[in-house]
Subunit: 148 residues, 2 copies
Amino acid sequence: MLNLISGENMFTKSCQYAIRAVIFLAENQASDKNTGVKEIADALHVPQQFLAKILQQLSRHNLISSVKGPNGGFYLGEDNAEVTLLDIVECMDGKSTLSTCILGLPNCTNEHPCPLHHHFYGSREGLKATLSSCVVGALVNGQVLSAK
Amino acid sequence: MLNLISGENMFTKSCQYAIRAVIFLAENQASDKNTGVKEIADALHVPQQFLAKILQQLSRHNLISSVKGPNGGFYLGEDNAEVTLLDIVECMDGKSTLSTCILGLPNCTNEHPCPLHHHFYGSREGLKATLSSCVVGALVNGQVLSAK
DNA sequence: GATAAAAAAGATGGTTTTATCTTTTTTTTT
DNA sequence: AAAAAAAAAGATAAAACCATCTTTTTTATC
Ligand code: FES
Ligand code: FES
């Protein structure tokens, strides 16, 4: 479920965790060692098993890379160099998220607008543009990444 | 829960129904007859009892007006003339909705930013401004309001 | 080959959101 | 006063989301 305006947060929990995890991986891009779920979960103060599911989902969609076995873990490789926030969001919350009518009505078009369409269409396109311009590998700036 | 970006919709279901119902009431502002839950629910094709809860919540917060008994129902009166979309959203999804960190981290400030803060702070403030500038009573334009 | 480490996958609970059902209160009309 | 209409409130259930526990698969190291 993607609630762009109402709800407790702009992103779902799954999506928040996914983004934070991927940015964390981006910080370790240089090092050639993999990062395990436990290490990520501990660093971000996020439930480990829930994060594991999220990382599996991202990995299945080739947004991050993984290796099994000892010294295994997750990493951002060359395959993932172009991954954007929009990819992450769509992977976790579905593609429809940023295209459907914000009031849940069918046929969101300029010709068939709901009473809010013209007020928010522009903002939403702007958000989409921002999301697709954010390449996750480049989102590292030593900024706050975890709670606690 | 208000999910401004991720999730199925920008607004929660409760919030969508609330907004659509209030706009529907705005259309009947002129007439001095009240509108019952059943009539609204039928017009918007939304679950009647769920809508009833939502209207009760809006009424409790004085965002809409109601009268009980025969010929009772809901209406937008002078008390509700200044109600904005922001009021509706905050009433349904909580005040914190548009202020907390979009990654769920504590202390969303420019001095203590998460990696996404600077990318989205502006857009979110813009959305908030748009929401607070939309007086619901003025949102009527004969546009699509219900599915089906 | 045996062992251990780690992701992957399967199964199961808990919580919140969404939705429905029933009862109560208020108020108009008869 | 009685009856009826409608919101208000209480209780319960279904669905989605969040979280955890367990088992399986893969793979490196011994
Ligand atoms: S946002 Fe409602 S029709 Fe486009
Ligand atoms: S949006 Fe994350 S700190 Fe402001």
